[in-house]
């Protein structure tokens, strides 16, 4: 490897009092990727981002950001753009104050880029009276104006209506295309990040459940549908991720390692949302009748 991964964790864990917020987390994010950090609430997403920004110290393991330890070498944070959940900003500042503050506190401040991203926002408006969408826009402009090499966003779509969410995504992609940063977007709503992420890290219960390139993951997984039967080995299937029974119908989500030869199976491709939901439910949990509804989203 020529340059260090933008974000790299080895056996990383964080304990809060008695509970582990994150445990045995090993992951590596390729440079230039747009990463969806997915998982239900309390899966450890915010904990991972807080560790990456040196806001908290690991209880075990290591985390490295752009090849450096964010706790021992906080200078690396100048190259990290972080927007915490709810885009916290000084409410009494005006938009212009917030920009001026960012300009003075960042050595590599790109005022042109920030202004471009803020286009249309009145400089005199108080931060406290901005709409949720405009506040997210300001927070993003402040984070990207640093021209960071790594951008970390914690639930940026929470509190945004669909239109504001789409505008935020457009702005984010526009800025990222300009600065060519690696991006990590933590979100519990997969539909919000599906459009843009090319890499996925799925956290469940404080651990990494699945990670990889989105295209490769979708390429390697298949849905098999057929009449109910005892499951032995199926030619072309490496692993069964989930099995579901509905009446006489059996539906499997599998990792395939070749064509499924048995014609009694109907083979279908899987979408990202369905794939991640399957990995979030307990492994190989056979659900007896009645057939359950597949939740499209999950909320804590």
């Amino acid at each position: 490897m020529t340059s260090a991964a933008p974000l790299d964790a080895r056996g990383l864990g964080k304990r809060f009092r008695r509970e582990w917020g994150l445990r045995d987390c090993t992951l590596s994010i390729p440079e230039g990727a747009i990463v969806g950090l997915a998982g239900p609430n309390a899966a450890g997403k915010s904990t991972l981002l807080a560790l990456a920004t040196g806001l908290i110290a690991p209880s075990e393991g290591t985390i490295s950001v752009l090849g450096r330890d964010p706790l021992r070498d906080p200078s690396v944070l100048a190259e990290v753009g972080y927007v915490a959940q709810g885009a916290p900003l000084y409410r009494s500042f005006s938009v212009a104050d917030a920009i001026e503050y960012a300009r003075r506190t960042n050595q590599r401040w790109d005022g042109d880029l920030a202004a471009e991203l803020l286009n249309g926002l009145q400089p005199r408006t108080r931060v406290g009276s901005l709409s949720a969408g405009d506040r997210a826009r300001l927070a993003l402009a402040l984070a990207l104006g640093k021209r960071p090499r790594l951008v970390l966003l914690d639930e940026p779509f929470a509190g945004l209506d669909p239109l504001a969410g789409r505008e935020f995504l457009q702005l984010l992609m526009d800025g990222v295309a300009e600065i060519e940063a690696t991006v990590v977007i933590a979100s519990h709503v997969i539909a919000d990040i599906e459009r843009v992420c090319d890499h996925i890290v799925l956290l469940t219960g404080g651990g990494v459940r699945l990670q990889g390139n989105v295209e490769e993951l979708l390429e390697s997984h298949r849905i098999l549908m057929g009449p109910r039967r005892p499951i032995g080995t199926i030619r072309g299937v490496r692993t069964i991720v989930r099995e579901r029974y509905a009446g006489r119908q059996l539906t499997l989500l599998v990792v395939a390692d070749g064509p499924i030869a048995d014609p009694s199976w109907t083979v279908e491709n899987v979408g990202l949302e369905e794939l991640l939901l399957a990995y979030m439910t307990p492994e190989r949990l056979p659900v007896q009748s009645p057939p359950e509804k597949v939740p499209l989203r999950w909320h804590g």
């Binding site: 457009q170 702005l171 992609m173 526009d174 295309a177 459009r195 090319d198 979408g271």
Partner: protein, 130 residues
């Protein structure tokens, strides 16, 4: 200039949708050799997609020899897919529009028109093949 659109439910990968839309525009002659494609930044700001995806689509078009990337200037159409018959399109379109007006005057709705066209196409092509 071509403007891309995205069908999230089509199941077709985003980069492929972009590739297909460029090819379709080339076949219809709406873009031609020398024309510039929108920059990656313009596309991502418009569609809210990953810049890597747009770059991948442009690389694929370049690999197929349809576009060339000029450093610092953008991506340009290098060759066309338009058939030689393209010059007859305008005239044929005008005649077809006239025919559609007649069909409308005769009381055919859109579905009847489509049904008539596809049935006629099938019949005519079957005869030609035979």
């Amino acid at each position: 200039m071509i403007e891309f659109h995205l069908d999230a439910r089509s199941g077709v990968a985003t980069y492929l949708q972009i590739v297909q839309q460029v090819k379709e525009a080339l076949r219809l002659g709406t873009i031609d050799v020398g024309d510039q494609l929108p920059t990656v930044r313009e596309v991502v700001a418009h569609l809210a997609v990953n810049p890597n995806t747009v770059a991948k689509a442009y690389r694929e078009l370049e690999r197929e020899g349809l576009v060339v990337a000029r450093q610092g200037r953008g991506t340009f159409i290098a060759s066309t897919l338009a058939p030689a018959s393209l010059r007859y399109h305008d005239e044929l379109r005008v005649k077809f529009e006239r025919w559609l007006d007649e069909a409308d005057a005769a009381g055919l709705d859109e579905e009847s028109v489509r049904a008539l066209i596809s049935a006629t196409l099938r019949k005519t092509w079957a005869r030609r093949v035979a």
